[in-house]
Symmetry: C2
Subunit: 356 residues, 2 copies
């Protein structure tokens, strides 16, 4: 289970609607009005996407508040991670992190250095400073996946200072950016930097994992280098069409952020009332949970039979099998999860008593 | 101009409908009924595509007449070319050929051996035999692009014998397969071979370049190797949905093939009546033309101003600037092209006379 969202594999376990807490998608669903836009655009499928993605890049730049010349696009964020990691010889990551930060450079035979987060999954800046050397690529999730933690502004600035000093490069994966509290915007912070690439994506916040649209802000030098190695037409026509709509739907953007903030508070507080689990703080739309004296398989199986798919987290390097990750979904699903977890602990207690 | 279909770049030259002869797409347009299918599937966008592409592979296997376990899928044929060429140290191609056969392995720093086709753009099997050595990847377009020539069955078998003897691997790009006369089916010929991968695609024949769906038949061993390096979710949800429809539209398939066959005869015979060009034989839906005592820029510019986009062919390694490639389109567009080319030769003759 390297990735969440694999409903098909577990379909047989439950007959009704499956509540997928294993992939971190905006529960509000895709922006309204997109359906019509796509319908009108179907005829465009008989043409190639614009090989230079001129309109697409200009829509993204408008949304991000930067120049179109600083934009790269990809077949999901993962293609950008793939292509950037191809360009460097040594890649530094912190663990646990999104598995593709390790997997993609591994496929290219790159040297990979894995630095652990601390016990509360906070970033260890000292360790990063000691490790980074010239020409390295540092990949950080911000917020990090599966921990849900976003760096503080001063932490990020301090890390970037090191990158600059050491002549290294920072790939900041902000695929969950819009779910987070509005504190700082890294694109504004580093608008003139040559040594950073900041990934965003339509996948999570705009609830469009099927569309495959990733994009990033970076320096013009890096854009040029990137274009030299990128596959042609890697972003499909529907993604081009979707971009014309979603980034302009301010109501969707604001209400999604607000809704997730409320549900985050609700779910954190309810989960913290449940026995035998430790619930970590999060800044975005998923929550990492430590199972105390239990393992992911037991709870996964129990919940799957109730139609709930959670993410077993042992596939994240640095986590053992005592963690699960759950998405923050809509109120009714969240309540369903909370109840199921309470029942599970009840059921488990009884089983342990019986076995004793 | 590394690829065709880049209408946006030339949009300013002509005010009306641009007739794009530079990309080789089925002029009939996408299969009827697909629009409805896609409309019904829009809600699926909020889920990830199946990471294992189970339904998609089974639809493709049914269409190709093989097992789903022998199928790989990609973000267009070009992603499959990219990933396969990554696996080998030395890549052998014949020139002229589709530029990505050279470009993708080049990006990975592979050694590339380029063998010329003969003067009539026929394949030189002897040269291939002399060149291939153990562990090589041979990439052949069948039909080849930009020449339009499909290998004879015995030629292909002979080449494959060499591949087998030398313990090499053959990547056969048959993206234009369905446009060709129904002589042999390479997937049937090599159904048990461990050393071949045969690419097909929805892009050209099903007129869906915007959907980005490439697929290939290969051995189970290669499928496994491929899956280890492929990007997750590289095929989008719309491509999954389209596959459920297009491969079952037998009427579309038959009538497209018939229509192209008729238009191919028409266009070949009309073009051969035009002065100062040499028109090569073709088995598929595009035609390579040699300009006698002329260059691609002159004719490109003249035609662009009439709303016709042709493919300048000098970007194909092995061709100088005296070639263009044109797609076979519908009758009215083909007629328009023939007339414009006649006018061009007329205009050119006058200009030459005036200058003399």
């Amino acid at each position: 289970m390297k990735h969440g969202g694999d409903i098909l594999t577990y379909r047989h376990l439950y007959d009704g609607r499956i509540r997928d807490f294993s992939s971190n998608i905006n529960p509000i669903g895709m922006p309204f009005g997109l359906k019509e836009k796509i319908l009108n655009g179907i005829k465009e499928l008989t043409k190639y996407p614009d090989i230079q993605y001129r309109n697409l890049k200009s829509e993204i730049a408008k949304y991000l508040g930067c120049n179109a010349g600083n934009i790269i696009v990809g077949n999901g964020a993962v293609e950008i991670i793939n292509n950037i990691s191809f360009m460097f010889n040594r890649v530094v990551v912190v663990t646990p992190c999104f598995s593709e930060y390790i997997e993609r450079p591994e496929i290219f035979g790159k040297e990979i250095v894995k630095l652990p987060l601390d016990e509360e999954f906070e970033i260890n800046i000292k360790l990063i400073k000691e490790t980074i050397s010239e020409g390295d690529l540092l990949i950080l999730g911000n917020p990090n996946n599966p921990t849900g933690k976003r760096m503080k502004e001063n932490e990020l600035i301090e890390i970037h200072e090191t990158i600059k000093e050491k002549n290294a490069f920072l790939l900041l994966d902000e695929a969950f950016f819009e779910f987070c509290p509005e504190d700082y915007d890294s694109i504004k912070l580093f608008s003139d930097s040559e040594d950073i690439c900041i990934i965003r994506a339509a996948t999570k916040f705009f609830a469009l994992p099927g569309v495959r649209l990733g994009y990033a802000f970076t320096s013009k030098t890096m854009v040029e280098k990137y274009n030299r190695i990128a596959l042609p037409w890697s972003v499909n026509t529907f993604a081009e069409i979707a971009a014309e709509h979603i980034f302009n739907d301010q109501h969707y953007i604001t209400s999604s952020r607000d809704y997730i903030a409320v549900q985050r508070e609700y779910l954190l507080s309810e989960l913290r009332g449940i026995e035998n689990i430790k619930v970590y703080d999060t800044h975005c739309n998923f929550i990492l949970i430590k199972l105390l004296d239990d393992n992911e398989d037991n709870i996964f199986e129990y919940l799957a039979k109730k139609g709930i798919l959670v993410r077993k987290a042992s596939s994240f390097e640095g986590l053992d099998n005592s963690y699960i990750r759950v998405a923050i979904k809509d109120f009714s699903d969240n309540k369903y999860l909370v109840n199921a977890l309470r029942e599970y602990q009840q059921w488990r207690k009884q089983r342990i008593t019986q076995e004793a």
